[in-house]
Amino acid sequence: MALPRTALADLRRIAGDRHVIDDANDLRIFERDGSISGALPEAVVLPADRDEVVRVVQVAARHGIPVVPRGAGTGLSGGAITLRGGIALQLSRMRRILEIDPIARTAVVEPGVVNADLQQAAGRLGLFYAPDPSSQKACTIGGNAAENSGGPHCLYYGVTTNHVIGLEVVFADGSVEWLGGDAPDRVGLDLLGVLVGSEGTLGTITRVKVRLMKLPESVVTLMAAFPTIEAASLAVSDVIGHGIVPAALEMMDQVTIGAVEAHYRAGYPTDAGAVLLVEVDGLQESCGELSAAIERVLRANEATNLRTAADAAERELLWAGRKGAIGALGRIRPNYYLHDGVVPRTRLPDVLRRVTEIGDHYRLPVANVFHAGDGNLHPNILFDLREAGIMSQVEAAGEEMLRAVVELGGTLSGEHGIGIEKNAFMPWIYGPDDLEAMLRVKRVFDPAGLLNPGKIFPDPDRDPHLVVRAGFCAEARWW
């Protein structure tokens, strides 16, 4: 289906011919994001600035056309998929770092600024931006804010919502507001807190103000090997149980280690059942004391091959293996389905056992690489899309894993979002009244339902299994 000709003409007038794409072949580039779904937009618009965004949104409102904001398209839950067609609002031309204030330690950026580029600019001033998704070399700050992204260092520093202090938002009616600001307390309802993580369903982010932090004086990165993933999980709980919250605490299982080592030669022992990567930062004195304490706890939990990165280069290499792990898994199977769920940290051994059983049952290799300190697991189901009928097996396995997460008191997503990947499962963790409360907010900001339609909330039209799935709800247990 194509957009009304008058709408297209309006869009061309607003953004210029070069920045409106409606050729069927060119549109295919925007069909997918980092998730396993896809749908074609009817047009892609690449606005140059906020005013163009406003005018595009006004045209969309006038014609009843869906609008889906899009950053780098690295999202894993289908947030950037134009499920109902309409306009993909590609924000990558808006990629200026507008201001870095080294005194106030804040930065104002356009939404298309790449996370790693902000890190680099901040780093030159001795500062850093804490949220560090593994896709940070590509993903954008606007996308991070829309999805409330996480990353390895969120264990200590918190996720995106803890670091975004202001947003400029274009609402569905074309109005523009700054939400939040530099003052610690704001008068009135915390709209900023609701917009962060709303996955483009409440408005389009056109500017982001973030808090920056001073780079720590000292960083120590430790690697330890464990005979089993259970032993590594218990070590994680034990470290935290000792009152130590490291900056990061990451785990990789044997499947992942093999793939990563073949690719990066980071020095992970390939015969280990699991590897933990632990990082502490802060004062030089504290790092020494904390890393020694962590070493003691890890050794008491069957750790072997304990190694401390000797210098920045070695630390980089250890992290390169972790952050590049997903790509390295291509050595095992050409395709992967990266899942995201969170359990209370102490349930990690239980949930990982279930994940293994489910993978075995479906005869699908599973690689685990995840934020163990937060209880945030990422099972990667590995497969070859060329195998007939494989997709339904992969999806069924993923659904069972997610179900196990929820049954253990966990949640559907820790950092990837709901999108269209998990909206059908929302009734597992929220009752009808809980979802109705969220819908009230949706209807306030987007009464016509044009902003990123079909996301977050269960859609009975699209998912015939919904009724069956909704038969189970683990939430609403407040004793």
């Binding site: 507001e177 309802l189 004062l283 004391e289 109705e436 969220m438």
Partner: protein, 366 residues
């Protein structure tokens, strides 16, 4: 129980979340207005309510629902006091870094609804940063949950944020879950009374690891709390070179309040705080968290002086809010200041949750 000179027609003391929801629904259906009351420590916030038919006291909801030491999370009913909760957490070496003024006696629900925070915000952030789940009774009698009991969660809208600081204008918080923190391995409090307190503030904040709390008062006294490993704290104490603070210094500080007079909270970007505080009237009594950007100003505040201070706070991109004040002062200057540009959106959200204005009508921003 008195709010701005009004006494309620009746006081309800529900002992379960369901009873809170029922009481709210009944009141809404009958057109009665409800003011939720926790510990009664923050009843002075906001404009005088238009009506006060029912006081809904949550103090009977005071149970710890779940405490998981190794998961470092806790779920509690909203009527539990901060002191009771922290005493429980202390048994497992943990704590919740919420330290509002006018302590003790704040309930969890009250602190969250009123959006209060204290000196520890410098290191730990405000409750907004570590509330992971809420359960709220709505005026239509529904009990709704948001978030969960895990420390990282992006499943659906973050409605936890919407109710914090909303002063119970959308619903009444009946339970909350938190990410908690390990008690610091080592901690030392120091103080000083230097000739140039703001220069000393800057020096303390520029330490390689800033204090977890740093307070400056109008009498020139600076109080800092340094936490971390033993060696690390030793180094910070040496670099700062202040004198040891009295053991009850923080407890004394947390008892500060409007003391029956007016009490204003100024909240501005930290870099602007000194300018706003310097412009307060000669002899003003105040205390501040300079690293956070918050100052508390108390006394027999004059309407013109409040207007002047508010205008300088707002020009700096911040606000001046009355946490308590005589009704005449509230009526003269308003509790909240200039309406935010987003007030229309806020009103629509209020319409969606509390269409009949059952909850504290007239008291909140919208």
């Amino acid at each position: 129980m008195v709010v701005d000179g009004l006494t309620p027609g009746r006081v309800e003391r529900p002992s379960s979340a369901d009873q809170v929801a029922e009481a709210l629904r009944d009141a809404a259906e009958d057109g009665r207005s409800v003011v939720p009351v926790g510990g009664g420590r923050a009843l002075g916030i906001g404009d005088p309510p238009q009506r006060f038919d029912v006081a809904l006291e949550t103090r009977a909801l005071d149970r710890v629902l779940e405490l998981s030491q190794a998961d470092m999370t806790v779920s509690v009913e909203a009527g539990i006091t901060l002191e009771a909760l922290n005493a429980t957490l202390a048994q497992v070496g943990q704590f919740l870094p919420i330290d509002p003024f006018n302590a003790p006696g704040h309930t969890i629900g009250g602190v969250l609804a009123a959006g209060l925070s204290g000196p520890l915000r410098l290191r730990y952030g405000s409750p907004r940063d570590f509330v992971i789940g809420l359960r709220v009774a709505l005026p239509d009698g529904r009990l709704v949950s948001s978030g969960g009991r895990v420390v990282k969660n992006v499943s659906g809208y973050d409605l936890n944020k919407l109710h914090q600081g909303a002063l119970g204008s959308l619903g009444v918080i009946v339970a909350a879950s938190f990410k908690v923190f390990p008690r610091p391995l080592h901690e030392v409090s120091v103080e000083t009374r230097p000739d140039d307190p703001w220069a000393e503030v800057a020096r303390a904040l520029a330490l390689p690891q800033p204090p977890v709390a740093l307070e400056l008062a109008s009498d020139g006294r600076l109080l800092a709390r340094l936490a971390g490993t033993a060696d690390g704290v030793r180094r910070l104490v040496a670099e700062l070179d202040w004198t040891a603070a009295a053991p009850d210094a923080w407890e004394d500080h947390s008892r500060r309040s409007g003391d029956g007079a007016a009490w204003a909270r100024i909240s501005v970007p930290p870099v602007a705080l000194r300018g706003v505080v310097d412009a307060l009237p000669e002899g003003a009594i105040w205390w501040a968290s300079p690293g956070v950007g918050v100052a508390h100003w108390t006394g027999d505040l004059d309407a013109d002086a409040v207007r002047a201070a508010r205008s300088s706070a707002e020009r700096a991109g911040g606000s001046l809010v009355l946490l308590a004040a005589p009704v005449e002062l509230k009526r003269a200057v308003g509790a909240w200041g200039t309406r935010p540009s987003t007030a229309a959106w806020m009103t629509r959200i209020r319409d969606a949750f509390d269409p009949k204005r059952t909850l504290s009508p007239g008291r909140y921003v919208v």
